[in-house]
């Protein structure tokens, strides 16, 4: 195995070990989506029927909540570069005779794997709550989850490379992640929203993530799957370059 690949594998392994050892974090990260589904989803299930929804409300929001798990989980893990910095571990990796890009790839793969595992756990949870999932293609769904997670982990890394400390995370959460989530059509079909909101939503990468997830889990979406997946790939490429660009500029 080449030297850089070996480094990527062990950086991935490190993130896995950290993820699997922090049981409380795994449970904590699943709590909010669980309440969304169990309370909001079941509570509104009988009452909500909007154009653009095929099944009941609980079913409709399941892909959206999966998107939320991937978005929040990935961004948080990406931003954990700051924690590495505060604990000094970042320096140990920066000084190693490997390319900075190798470090970004290892970190992204490790963290997106962790986010996808969170997503799968959340899907199992939703089945337990009585959601009927009509899985189109299991491999496609997992690849899609990887694509979405990797893009947001990279975005997190790019942001973390510029942030001073974890205090900035609150700002990112409230001014970036929350609007991205609400504008994505995760909780209601955007066709029932005012035109202005619909227009803004087109600039929200989460819109395409939720559309693609809805197609792969329920078999329908308001946007052709080819378009949503293409845009997601473009978004992933863009964030990868951003992450590599900003991470390369740490401390030099």
């Amino acid at each position: 195995m080449s030297h850089e690949l070996l480094a990527i594998y062990f950086l991935w392994k490190r993130e896995m070990i950290r993820f699997l050892r922090s049981k409380s974090r795994i449970i904590g990260s699943l709590a909010m989506p669980f309440f969304f589904l169990a309370i909001l989803g079941t509570g509104l299930s009988g009452a909500m029927k909007l154009p653009g929804m095929n099944g009941n409300y609980l079913e409709f929001i399941t892909p959206g909540i999966l998107g939320m798990v991937l978005l929040f989980g990935s961004m948080f893990l990406g931003i954990s570069v700051i924690i590495d910095r505060q604990f000094g571990f970042l320096k140990e990796t920066l000084i190693a005779p490997v390319k900075r890009t190798t470090l970004v790839i290892g970190k992204t793969l490790g963290n997106s794997t962790a986010a996808v595992i969170q997503g799968i756990l959340m899907l199992l949870l939703s089945v337990f709550l009585g959601v009927t999932i009509q899985l189109q293609d299991i491999l496609f769904t997992i690849l899609l989850m990887f694509l979405i997670s990797s893009a947001f982990v990279c975005l997190g890394i790019a942001i973390a490379s510029k942030l001073e400390d974890m205090h900035g995370f609150q700002l990112i959460m409230n001014f970036l992640m929350m609007p991205m989530f609400f504008l994505s059509g995760a909780l209601f079909p955007l066709t029932s929203a005012p035109q202005i909101i619909q227009t803004i939503a087109y600039f929200d990468p989460m819109l395409y993530a939720v559309e693609a997830l809805r197609f792969s889990l329920l078999g329908y979406s308001s946007m052709p799957i080819l378009i949503s997946v293409s845009i997601l790939i473009a978004f992933f490429i863009a964030t990868t370059f951003l992450a590599a660009y900003f991470f390369n500029r740490i401390e030099s």
Binding site: R85, I95, P97, E164, I250, S252
Partner: protein, 331 residues
């Protein structure tokens, strides 16, 4: 003779401050070289440039023969570093930390496990190999970091304040490891410290650095000798009479009476005591006691910089602040 480290007018400027100012040093292969200076003297910045973490504003350096500009990867492969602040992943075990490090330095699987056992035995932590680092004491973490830095058989080892924040017993322990590395492995060691005793007891040569400049560079002994010898403090009832009797004596450079005691600056104080006592006998002067004061590195530092190093003990909060300042916060 080849040099392990060679810097040529190395300079690092931050917006309003020159942290390292035209430093030219040559470190011999196999020696322990100390950079002694107060906090903020530029020691860490100098090391950061040598290990390719920071780019110099001007000047250049060679480490193990590799140019830091032209061949940073060559530099990285030949060095080990122990940072001032901890740099372990606390949630991993000692083994996992070492394994990750070995992989990033391209060490093959078979070789990896052999070396991990080897370095962990060097620092006597074998029984903690599969324990999560979170549970380690400060001294154990330091030892694990030393082990990690040795894993890829570096030619040059950088130690930035290796014993800061450790208790005296653990400090002594770390010193022993450092000496062992030099003696058994022939590794060149460059260490920074603001502890005088550390520089004095460990280093073959010491560079005193203040405000980014090297003030003076020599062996600890030569530095102390450069102050012009030892001080004899003589307690007697006839200080003035003794002063007159000794004034012309060979090897006595300076005499003065302080608080009723006669103080002499002399070379080879141990031998001079005998001559002084004899001279006193001849003149029928009774000597009550003689004290010999050898110059310390503290005196050297005071002499060359005009100030003493404050051996500060930092509170945890200060340490956090320093760490944040030291690491990538451009404010």
């Amino acid at each position: 003779m080849a040099y392990a480290i060679e810097t040529d007018n190395l300079t690092k400027k931050f917006s309003d401050l020159t942290a390292v100012d035209n430093v030219s040093l040559k470190v011999n292969e196999g020696e322990i070289f100390g950079l002694l200076g107060p906090n903020g003297a530029g020691k860490t910045t100098l090391i950061s440039m040598l290990v390719t973490l920071k780019k110099p504003t001007s000047g250049t350096a060679k480490v193990n023969g590799f140019d830091i500009h032209k061949n940073p990867d060559g530099v990285r492969k030949s060095i080990g570093i122990i940072f001032q602040d901890p740099s372990l992943d606390e949630e991993l075990t000692a083994f996992e930390n070492l394994e990750l490090h070995a992989a990033m330095y391209g060490i093959s699987k078979a070789e990896r496990e052999k070396r991990i056992i080897e370095v962990i035995e060097t620092v006597e932590l074998k029984d903690r190999l599969n324990t999560v680092v979170k549970t380690f004491s400060g001294g154990m973490r330091r030892r694990l970091e030393i082990a990690r830095a040795l894993l890829h058989y570096p030619k040059v080892l950088f130690l930035d304040e290796p014993t800061i924040g450790l208790d005296p017993q653990t400090r002594k322990h770390v010193w022993d490891y450092i000496k062992k590395l030099k003696e058994e492995h022939g590794i060149t060691i460059l260490l920074t410290t603001h502890y005088m005793d550390e520089a004095d007891s460990l280093c073959d040569r010491i560079a005193i650095i203040d405000q980014g400049k090297v003030i003076v560079l020599d062996s600890g002994k030569a530095l102390k000798d450069s102050l012009g010898g030892d001080t004899l403090k003589i307690e007697t009832n006839q200080a003035e009479k003794l002063q007159n009797a000794l004034k012309g004596m060979k090897g006595v450079k300076d005499t003065k009476i302080l608080e009723g005691r006669l103080q002499l600056r002399v070379e080879f104080g141990e031998k001079k005591i005998l001559e002084v006592v004899e001279a006193a006998k001849k003149n029928n002067i009774e000597i009550l006691s003689v004290g010999l004061h050898k110059p310390t590195i503290d005196d050297v530092f005071l002499h060359y910089t005009g100030k003493t190093i404050r051996e500060e003990t930092l509170s945890g909060k200060d340490q956090m602040r320093m760490r944040r300042k030291a690491w990538g916060h451009k404010r």
